[in-house]
Symmetry: C2
Subunit: 330 residues, 2 copies
Amino acid sequence: MNEFELIKTVTHGAPAQKDGLVRGVGDDCAVISGNETKDFLITTDALFEDVHFKREWISPRTLGRKALSVNISDIAAMGGKPLFYLVTIGIPKAFPLKEVEEIFEGMANSAFVHRTALIGGDTCSSANGLLISITVIGDIDRGKSIYRSGAKIGDSVYVTGILGHAALGLACLEKGIRSLEVREFIRKHDDPTPRVAIGQWLMSSTCVSSMIDISDGLVSDLNHIAEASNVEIKIFANQIPKVEEFAKAANRCNKDALTLALTGGEDYELAFTVSSYKKDLFEKMMKVVAPTFGHAVTKIGEVTAGNGVKIIDMHGANMHLTKGGYEHKF
Amino acid sequence: MNEFELIKTVTHGAPAQKDGLVRGVGDDCAVISGNETKDFLITTDALFEDVHFKREWISPRTLGRKALSVNISDIAAMGGKPLFYLVTIGIPKAFPLKEVEEIFEGMANSAFVHRTALIGGDTCSSANGLLISITVIGDIDRGKSIYRSGAKIGDSVYVTGILGHAALGLACLEKGIRSLEVREFIRKHDDPTPRVAIGQWLMSSTCVSSMIDISDGLVSDLNHIAEASNVEIKIFANQIPKVEEFAKAANRCNKDALTLALTGGEDYELAFTVSSYKKDLFEKMMKVVAPTFGHAVTKIGEVTAGNGVKIIDMHGANMHLTKGGYEHKF
């Protein structure tokens, strides 16, 4: 049983409706009714030692920054603005206080960039390794949250940035490769940038019908959109954005660049669909605003009738992945 | 360095003010401005295997119930109403799925009692033991949150229920005593009841100047009120509520009943102060409503000038505790 099946199992029977609840389990954030102009977004995510990170591979400061950034990414994936965060940290015996401070400094650094304030939490000793569990609260214009369930047949599929770099960085860490050419991939793995600015812009553009952040891998996460929206998503392999150094470095790690881009986790880019009747408007607006974001926005596919995610090669044929997206297996 | 010093260290420099933030780090919950009539309360707390619980001592269902109840207790301690919860659970390899389901059933049970809905979370595999981290969101009439900082000289100090029972239950678990006479103490430790109903009533009574829930022990938690309010709190030892079986069972565990009541953690009762000029009104109201709560409400002390918590014996002399309240030591 994988993570998604498990969540379904344990939340089965959870109340679907409650006063003040706009959206419960099943999207990047839960949505709570705030006031006449705002909804609140809330999300929680944890990093466990030896599952999500190894202490010898990442500095405490970078770890802290990543722990907050990946939570903020869930707010970005709804089109929202992060406001506050709470931290539960479990600290092993004999863990240096200085490193605890550095973890919190790293979080404060991400918080400063994204104007997010620490408002609470819990510190405990841990008998079993370091762990950091964070809850982030954000807000968004009332009723404007972008869900996974809004994709419609005929919509176009886009991604921000470039995919697979974090997974390649992880592969380099695992293989002990630390050379200059791969530093950027390791940095992308260790220190992801949540796409908050473009997430908010996409929300305000009113062109976007569904959105998710890519934490488990493009195919795996687009599958959530396909399932929630009851559609099929076609991805054109030759439209996946790539950089030349990436294929070379992937080769050195005995990895296939396309497979990394399609299935590699932890990029924390945004994948989203644009309504068919707003595509031209969206493309025009993107031309104007894209340079301000500092990362690419690329059309990679389309929404069709059916279910699941299909990868289409340059000849129009279905490609079959030999393994699925990265999931936390039990 | 203990938990409280650590929290101070790492949150030093956290922004004290931000739009929409009513109260940040340092109380039972953070308070966020909601709308014209409501504020939101938010709190997070975790249970770690071999730190907060041992799997051989508690059933998965009871553990789940406790994990949610202790978080709801923080909402009660502000006078609020719990609404929603998010769960991050870290599951060791080979942990039975059935027990995961039972943990969530236990949470759902506490949630049902307190009308609280599961709205999100994160499930991960854990390399290092079971852990449950929960965030609870509640609401409260705007501006009516009861803080630790409101106690004034001349106020009276009260507690709900009876103290020390959970700590005695833990002592019994540690010593392997499971006889019928101690079952109720073990139950109190394993399955605390958050004081939500009286917490909300105390808020609406407008008589209460400060409040906290007793998670670390009466003296330790009243110290937070004393410090936040810049006052001294005097507790009269002979006014501490007690039951006869408790002293006997404490004896069997080589524990002093009074010390357990003063320093034992995890009772999740409420300690609060009543404004001096509303004391008579409060006592009159309590006589009417107390029977509906099903637990005692006892005056145990008063707020004076100074700092810290003093324990006064029947002769009016200061008592000195040989050890402080229960804290999670690093």
